[in-house]
């Protein structure tokens, strides 16, 4: 046990000396928080990193893919993110039945911007790699946009994406 404590202390000393160093030797840099793949959209979910990876998982797991396009400095994206991350039903359904991807950069696939490259927007892709352009939100000028008040609609759209899957495959 004592050995364990000593080992832990050693780790702590090492950690604190490592953490203490940057300030002394390289005054320019502060300690950064490692970037997460979730970017705050659900730290407990398993996120694909790239569209290629997401398509691979969607096909191999036969789960629909949900792609969230957003920007870190866009207040609408931030507000939607908060609502999305806090909605337990959405988080659970995403975790259980979807492959999920959030992107701050557009892909080269034009099918992912049926009515333009705006943020935030959410698109569904089925495992056959067909973009489900028919699953839309409530705004006629930005069909794939959602606001924090639209979480019920988003949840029902997720359920539609799953329903399509069962009916058509």
């Amino acid at each position: 046990m004592l050995k364990g404590i000593l080992a832990v202390l050693l780790v702590l000393v090492t950690l604190s000396s490592a953490m203490g160093k940057p300030e002394k030797t390289t005054p320019k840099k502060e300690k950064r928080i490692p970037q997460t793949l979730s970017r705050g959209w659900g730290d407990q979910l398993i996120w694909a990193q790239t569209y290629e990876e997401a398509l691979f998982w969607s096909r191999s797991k036969n789960k629909p893919l949900m792609i969230i396009f957003h920007l870190e400095d866009c207040p609408h994206s931030q507000a939607l993110k908060k609502a999305f991350a806090e909605d337990k039903d959405i988080q659970k359904l995403a975790d259980d039945d979807f492959v999920i991807l959030n992107l701050v950069y557009e892909t080269t696939d034009k099918h992912l911007s049926p009515d333009g490259q705006y943020v935030p927007r959410i698109l569904f892709v089925d495992p056959s790699m067909t973009v489900r352009a028919d699953i839309t939100g409530r705004y006629a000028n930005r069909l794939y946009a959602y606001e924090p008040a639209d979480m019920k609609l988003l949840l029902s759209n997720m359920q539609r994406a799953l329903k399509f899957l069962k009916t058509e495959l």
Copy 2:
């Protein structure tokens, strides 16, 4: 000091009880550690998420792009990752002068696999979006592979990527 030890023990107890819990209360789900973009290749570095994003940053910052292809369950990738993450010179140069991206899935760009899609492999791309197929490691059968013992070569290759940049642009 004793307080510190107690705190550490408490953390340990919490950790071990947390680790023990999933079996008891929620048999399916354990608490997940959020995935990081670094995937362990340098938590303090700023990583691009996708190739598109990396190209954008490379062009707009006029910095060469370094792409690491790897796999989580590949022992060669893991060994290289450890050496890469622990090499202060490489980490500093990567942080200061490169746009960096690590990928566990291949992109659709065939230029990124000049001699095949193996892992681990490291490729450099200059801001004009030209893949620097001339910057290679020491293995004739896998030109872009590196081993943990090759960190000096990798560092010098990074410096070559920067030198090209200054000479040619």
